[in-house]
Symmetry: C2
Subunit: 478 residues, 2 copies
């Protein structure tokens, strides 16, 4: 482990982020430009994210499947906006088995087209609907400026693709999955996201409507943490996804797609991380509890280790680790597990044993304020569970307070320009692209989302003063 101090967030937020990822061993740079290696600790976090989402997908009736990595170039070209949006970022296979391919193959940047093609084969009748399929996999977008987790050439995600008989059902599905993402973010990751609709400018290439969950990072910038798209009949028409309705009429389906990626790990890092490193929510942490035995000599070791090992067994219902390394000091271990964001550290030394207790330290509350003792005994697993629940709730509250303290409602455009330098502005917007563009030019802030939760009535556009029906969040974004 690199023992230099991590840059602080105030010194250099961007470098704090990069160094934190490398030192906590979440990920590393790959020898291919813009690609990352997700290391075991980072992948274990992703597996927990997958588990929490997959459970929700299956509870809402979805199944997983796998569609090909390669998409014929001609497929992308069938949906005009889609190909315009994705063309600049494609990786293209031109050689296979030593021969030049007749038709180049695109490494999927997303799978609406190839899945649309398969749906057109599978769907014949209204009885085949809805089709509710999700895929866990990798996709490639040839980005020019990359950041670990936030924007990499290859990334890992899930993409749900559904087909329905009516527009209403498809819209319901779009919003249902947005709600699944919100529930996951808030209740598993303690990331208090704001669900809303994207503007025309910001929506997915090929969608009729895009919805998003937006999260505020520790530097107040916004991060799009998951999206759900109502695709209308755009892809159904491009790929002839049709069904016979009960009256024996041929109709085009209405489709949706929705995705959440390893980018979400970036959201967790920047929502909860502090100057000591990563801070992970207990529900997703690969290691929830680390036990550090403390002793200075063989006698103390003989006294402490059996108790530490017994405690390790008592806590087997958690993702627990007993740190038995002999080549490093307890102080080193404390720093090491703090860097890795383990929610709860249990220290156990000879004095603790004499007192019949262990010392617990809460990662999200550094220093003495986060420390307390728990009595050794049969109740300890229940007490550890209670502390983890308390931590989970406290992390959400802290993140929500930070977010709410950095959201302001400007009284005029001048004030808005100030607000977005260090926060989000919530303001009425007329909906016109030119007002959105002006804000971006003046401040680099973009519309993040038109929140689902809207006040009654209407107001005046913060930019042009024209009547406006909806409020929108403006913010600088990742």
């Amino acid at each position: 482990m690199n023992t230099d101090k991590l840059p602080t967030r105030s010194e250099n937020y961007s470098e704090w982020y990069n160094q934190l990822i490398l030192r906590s061993e979440l990920a590393d740079y790959a020898p291919v430009r813009g690609c990352m290696v997700v290391r075991p600790y980072g992948w274990a976090l992703w597996e927990n994210i997958q588990g929490a989402l997959d459970k929700r997908f299956k509870e809402t009736g979805h199944s997983n499947a796998a569609f090909p990595l390669f998409i014929p170039m001609s497929f992308l070209e069938k949906e005009k906006e889609h190909v315009e949006g994705f063309s600049p970022e494609l990786a293209i296979v031109t050689i296979g088995g030593g021969e030049k391919l007749e038709e180049p193959l695109v490494v999927r940047p997303t799978s609406e087209t190839i899945i649309g093609y398969m749906y057109s084969k599978w769907i014949k009748s209204y009885r085949d609907l809805p089709v509710l399929i999700n895929q866990w996999g990798n996709v490639v977008r040839w980005e020019m400026r990359t950041r670990l987790f936030l924007r990499t050439l290859e990334f890992y995600w899930q993409e749900g693709h559904t087909a329905h008989a009516t527009a209403e059902e498809a819209v319901d599905e779009t919003v249902r999955m947005l709600n699944v993402y919100t529930d996951f973010a808030v209740n598993e990751a303690a990331v208090p996201v704001i669900p809303g609709r994207k503007s025309e400018t910001e929506k997915f290439a090929g969608a009729s409507d895009s919805y998003t969950i937006e999260a505020m990072m520790g530097d107040t910038r916004a991060l799009q943490a998951g999206t759900s798209h109502f695709l209308g009949q755009n892809f159904a028409k491009a790929f002839d996804i049709q069904f016979l309705d009960p009256g024996n009429q041929l109709q085009h389906c209405w489709t949706t797609s929705w995705g959440l990626s390893t980018r979400f790990i970036g959201a967790i890092i920047m929502t909860h991380g502090d100057d000591q490193g990563l801070v992970l929510p207990p529900r997703l942490a690969p290691i929830q509890v680390v036990i550090v035995p403390i002793f200075r000599n063989d006698d103390e070791q003989a006294k402490v280790m059996p108790v530490a090992e017994a405690l390790n067994r008592q806590l087997s219902q958690f993702r627990v680790k007993l740190d038995t390394r002999s080549e490093v000091t307890p102080g080193f271990k404390f720093n090491d597990w703090e860097m890795r964001g383990v929610p709860l550290r249990i220290e156990i030394g000879p004095k603790d044993i004499d007192n019949g207790v262990v010392t617990v330290a809460r990662r999200h509350t550094p220093g003495k304020a986060g420390k307390s003792t728990l009595p050794l005994g049969d109740e300890i697993a229940a007490q550890v569970q209670a502390v983890l629940d308390e931590i989970q709730a406290a992390m959400l509250e802290k993140a929500r307070n930070f977010r709410d303290a950095h959201i302001h409602e400007p009284k005029d455009y001048e004030e808005m320009k100030q607000i977005v330098q260090d926060g989000w502005a919530l303001a009425y917007w007329c909906g016109r692209t030119e007002c959105e563009a002006r804000v971006k030019e003046d401040t680099k802030a973009t519309t993040r989302c038109i929140p689902l939760d809207q006040p009654e009535g209407q107001g005046e556009c913060i930019v042009c003063g024209q009547p406006a029906k909806k409020k929108v969040y403006f913010a600088r974004a990742y």
Copy 2:
């Protein structure tokens, strides 16, 4: 569902296999040559395979991680045998973001090279060893002749990659993971595999020694169902994977790799499938129990459905499905679930209820012999578990009996040529490539493996008559 009869195995084994996969909706052909779509039913089977293997990997100390899809062409060239073996089957990305790449990128056919590069960065000291990492993902090999699951351009697999301080530890790991595969195949999939070592000709490109589990399919051909490779210091030297030993000397690591893929689904199909379709082992079946309610009118429906629904709840510990479709007959449902290989069907009609029983039908024993009744009541879940255990054991026994009945020990070369037309030959072999080549030319059979389980003593090579120390299996293979 296609209601034409499935071709029988004796009519056309190959067409039986293809049609079974399409009709049971395990997979479909993709619009890209040689690629497949794994449909939800097939992917659910793969998820169960993944779960059973992943548990074993974690129990033996391995963690999962993710390495890039793209590998610089120059990496492959660092290990001579490796690049020779894989060059003919590479898919190559030459364009990214609209520009021709300076160095083409290979879509990984396997990841020894890029993982080797990362290990050389991560491993510094003997304290960093062993490194025990697995990756679940997709790989691409540009095959000319493809078959669903057995050989596709893109396939899904896990690849374990480990690094060790000594040759002995690496060999132990290679054999440990071979044993994990054997345990999985036998005890989860009821596929009685034979573990052994590959000949020089058949080993992995770049390995010092390759181990395999070989399974006999229903047409008696062999299928390599999983492999584990001792890579010696070949990749460590090519990628400078070095560590300081306790005496502060710089040493090269010893590495292994091991993989099992969606090909294993082909092994399950061809080990257990029959002329009615798929037959799945209870431990891996996506649906273990299907309940088919039987009624002819509203009164009977009112009598049957509440009992069927209660039974569905009573069996919630299983992967159970209550087939409530109203648009198809019970007979159609029977055929449908037989095609999909559901291990246990429970029929429940008005007469059954009068008698306080349900009828159960075992998929692996068609007709009356596979039917019995179980009393409705509190004990039914335990009884269903017992029947599923009985089925799992019976499937393994049946497959083992079939295999053993088709393995023969030839007394001379002429007899061997006969045996491999419809079975496997177990015979002494001198180990020389020219004898192996002669068998292949004469019979199309190849050496499948030198089984770990060997008789005492030695004999004469079945081909040339020279002294031979080991017996080997010769068979035609997929």
